[in-house]
């Protein structure tokens, strides 16, 4: 038996024990101060205390309460002590802003916060002026004289990231870096920034040389989202989150690099958790029975409180206006309904009741002209699920709703980005059909065309509308159909075996199909097609992972200017065609020159090798005992030639009377 004669406690052990030492300070952390409490006299004090107790014991056990008085009335603020600091925090979180009646809205704060705010320095110190960092022209890529769009490519399983300019002949490399990102990249919505991911946070790059513009420190960041105006970026890390200091989601100001606000987050399953209004003025998130809408730049709750919406299942912003659409399921005898709400007024523009609803999905057209609510219902008396599309016409007075009934299960739905058509893939493999509808001005929704027996599970509209690709990705082996929806013709049917992704360029001229190493370990490449489905390039890249087109900022041209350009298109076409022909012949000439040089080099090498070979002839003869093996027919004497005749056919041809 060994004894510890020298009890030496390690520093760690000591820390553990000391942490549990009762501390005087604990008491203060559990105290809250409630303001705007009604001022009452002694006859109503008991009732007041009961009301307060009822409201505030929801958050924990109240161990002490103190109602300061002056001149026989309560002062209007009280102190409550809870059994633990966490309970005090709950009280602040939930009771702050509680409306007792018209004149009294509680303000609840931690007692310790008062301390904190009292100690803020009275003297305001102006922040130090930072030197101006010139990153050059942030829109440099837009000024390419040949209007080439850029795209990012991640390959070598993530080891290399490159930026190319798209040219029909072959991609032109702009920048290539090893380990530029640790996982993947994202472009900002207007294409100004490239975001890369790192263990410590994210970095933004931009300008002509892709210099580092800004860095945001968020340990273990895994997801990001930009505000549409590119003023803010939202980062998510599952690692950082404590009750006192929620840091799972952080919203940053991109230009200053400042952390604007941190939020708690339970699960990142439906990223982005915060959805932005199209102009970046608001962002909102949904939690149980609640819709919280915040405004920028203050990052505070709009009207200082969240919206209580019982059972809210999903919401989304109109991409064109500050309108939120949300839906709630059936509740006892109240039917399910979809509501359109104007922000910031919170006025309900439109409410639509829906019956026997199983699920709803919201699909906005890209300009906010239409909202489609895909409703899955189980009609009374049946077992099966049927789907309706409820089409809201946002631009018409009182937002009329038209219904399209679908007979089969829906695989995919997509609006034409800037038009009034939508495409639907429906049915079940192998009988999948593609239907095209047009939402007409006269209140009708017309089925333009249906293609049956399609190998498709995804719809990709050109960002400029009219053209689209129906693709059978992954398990459907990369079947592609290029459609012109102006007359619903199939322009081309093709295949990119095992394609996992389809990406249109921002101008709608080119489409890239790709096989990502992340989903398939061989044949990793990206192929470039024209919008009509003509294959231009096959670009193999070792362990190719991801291609993303750089978005373009909205055009600076007015609608009239665009009209003028379209009118004069013939004139511009001539100039462009000439330019194309010149560059074609230049490329041919370059290729021809390159080939000539290669051939000459090769010929020279072969001549030298041949000369050497001939000089060594004697050596060879010596090695082979005088037998010449240089030519096939060097030793004809050694050969035996045998001629064999086979009888194949007999034909008798009469020569006529001679």
């Amino acid at each position: 038996i060994t004894y510890l004669t020298n009890l030496s406690l390690s520093a760690e052990l000591l820390d553990d024990i000391l942490r549990e030492k009762p501390q005087e300070a604990d008491g203060i952390d559990s105290v809250v101060v409630v303001d705007n409490v009604p001022q009452v006299g002694p006859e109503r004090l008991e009732k007041l205390k009961n009301v307060i107790h009822k409201i505030f014991s929801k958050f924990g056990k109240i161990t002490t309460e103190f109602y300061p008085e002056a001149d026989g009335m309560t002062k209007g603020y009280i102190f409550l002590e809870y059994a633990a600091p966490t309970q005090a925090l709950e009280a602040v979180k939930n009771a702050d802003g509680y409306k007792l009646d018209k004149q009294h809205t509680f303000r609840v704060n931690l007692f310790t916060d008062f301390d904190k705010y009292m100690n803020i320095c009275d003297e305001w110190e102006a922040p130090e002026k930072q030197p101006f960092k010139d990153f050059g022209n942030m829109r440099h890529w837009i000024e390419d004289p040949d209007c080439r769009d850029q795209y990012s490519v991640i390959y070598e399983a993530g080891e290399r990231t490159a930026i190319f300019s798209n040219d029909a002949k072959e991609p032109i490399i702009n920048e290539e870096r090893a380990r530029w990102t640790e996982t993947y990249v994202r472009w900002s919505p207007k294409g100004t920034y490239l975001a890369t991911f790192h263990q410590r946070g994210i970095a933004l790059w931009g300008g002509e040389k892709f210099k580092q513009i800004q860095r945001f420190s968020h340990q273990g960041v895994s997801l990001i989202d930009f505000s549409p105006c590119e003023r803010y970026v939202v980062t998510f890390s599952p690692l950082m989150d404590t009750k006192e200091d929620p840091q799972a989601i952080i919203i940053w100001d991109i230009l200053t690099g400042q952390k604007k606000r941190g939020f708690h987050c339970e699960s990142s399953a439906h990223w982005p958790i915060f959805k932005w209004s199209h102009d970046g003025k608001f962002f909102a998130r949904m939690s149980t029975d609640t819709l919280s809408i915040y405004e920028t730049p203050s990052m505070g709750l709009l009207d200082k409180k969240s919206l209580k919406i019982n059972g809210i299942k999903d919401f989304s912003w109109s991409p064109g206006d500050n309108i939120i659409a949300f839906w709630v399921p059936e509740d006892k005898d109240i039917p399910a309904r979809v509501t359109l709400m104007q922000m910031p007024s919170r006025q309900e523009i439109r409410v639509r009741n829906l019956f026997n609803v199983v699920d709803c999905k919201l699909h906005w057209q890209r300009n906010g002209d239409y909202l489609c609510v895909k409703v899955d219902r189980t009609p009374k008396g049946t077992q099966g699920v049927v789907t309706n599309f409820e089409i809201f016409r946002m631009r018409e007075k009182q937002v009329p709703v038209d219904v399209v009934e679908m007979k089969e299960s829906i695989i995919a739905f997509a609006w034409e980005p800037n038009g009034s058509k939508f495409a639907v893939l429906h049915g079940e493999s192998p009988r999948i059909n593609a239907s095209f509808y047009h939402v007409k001005n006269n209140g009708k929704i017309e089925l333009i065309k249906m293609f049956d027996k399609q190998q498709a599970n995804s719809i990709f509209w050109s960002p400029q509308g009219q053209f689209m690709v129906l693709a059978g990705l992954r398990s459907m082996n990369g079947a592609l159909a290029f459609v012109d929806t102006s007359d619903c013709t199939l322009m081309n049917i093709a295949e990119h075996y095992m394609a996992s992704d389809v990406e249109w360029d921002p101008t709608g001229r080119y489409v890239v199909t790709s096989v990502s190493w992340w989903s398939h370990k061989v044949d990793n490449a990206y192929w470039l097609w024209t919008f009509q489905g003509r294959l231009l390039q096959k670009n193999n890249k070792d362990r190719f992972c991801q291609l993303l087109w750089r978005p373009r900022p909205p055009t600076l041209l007015s609608i009239d200017q665009i009209k003028m350009i379209k009118k004069d298109l013939k004139k511009y076409s001539k100039i462009f065609e000439q330019k194309d022909r010149l560059s074609q012949s230049k490329a041919s000439k370059e290729l021809v020159d390159k080939r000539r040089a290669m051939m000459e080099e090769y010929r020279n090498y072969r001549e030298a090798a041949l000369q050497n070979y001939q000089e060594q002839k004697n050596l060879r003869l010596e090695l082979r005992g005088g037998v010449d093996t240089d030519e096939l027919d060097s030793n004809v004497d050694d050969w035996e030639e045998e001629t064999i005749e086979f009888f194949i056919n007999e034909e008798i041809i009469p020569l006529g009377d001679l």
Partner: protein, 208 residues
């Protein structure tokens, strides 16, 4: 398991029961996967499973020259008809042309699949390559019939100019007929295919 390159005298090998090699060259680190003789029998050119190529002296077994141009296993080495150069086929999806004496790297031919075998035409500036998936991974490729192709590259321009379909599985071996008028390929599917070139093959020229 140790790896050896064994040099055997053919006459002795055939006529006697004593099968001792004339020379045994050990190579302990990366095993040899393919080998050919040098132009005058003075050295052996060997390709290794790590992509290395070594010239072993046929007298002493010492390494005369070594290079590493391939990043993965060398599957096949074949010499040109005059033995002045040789072509290597590698798992790194390329085939490369080298000078036999100096081991200078002359050309590279790139594909997207492992190359199992390559050969040099005796009469034209062409090389033929065959390859495909590793046998284990075949089920992950297109099951379309005859997808495995023999591919022809121009030796000077390093550009592919033709493909011949027909095999149902990866091609393991290719060879030109000594007269250069046909070629043969053997595949995982168990077939040997013999193709005779049509007149256009001999007239074909890339735009110069």
């Amino acid at each position: 398991h140790k790896c050896f390159a064994l040099v055997k005298d053919v006459k002795v090998f055939v006529s006697t029961e004593d099968n001792q090699p004339y020379l045994s060259i050990p190579c302990s680190e990366h095993k040899i996967t393919s080998a050919v003789w040098g132009p005058l029998g003075e050295f052996v050119i060997a390709g290794h499973e790590n992509g290395e190529i070594n010239q072993f002296s046929a007298k002493s077994g010492d390494i005369l020259k070594k290079i590493k141009e391939h990043t993965k296993q060398i599957n096949d080495i074949q010499s040109s008809v005059d033995n002045t150069m040789f072509i290597t086929a590698s798992k790194d999806n390329t085939a490369k042309l080298f000078d036999s004496t100096s081991l200078d790297h002359i050309k590279t031919f790139r594909t997207e699949r492992p190359v199992n075998s390559a050969a040099i035409s005796p009469i034209m500036d062409h090389v033929v390559m065959g390859g495909g998936q590793e046998a284990m991974e075949v089920t992950t490729t297109s099951t379309r019939i005859g997808k495995f192709e023999a591919r022809f590259f121009h030796a000077a321009y390093e550009e592919e100019f033709g493909r011949v379909k027909g095999h149902f599985g990866p091609i393991n071996c290719v060879a030109f007929h000594p007269d250069g008028k046909s070629y043969s390929s053997g595949g995982e599917d168990g077939y040997v295919r013999i193709h005779y070139f049509d007149p256009q093959y001999f007239d074909f020229e890339l735009e110069v």
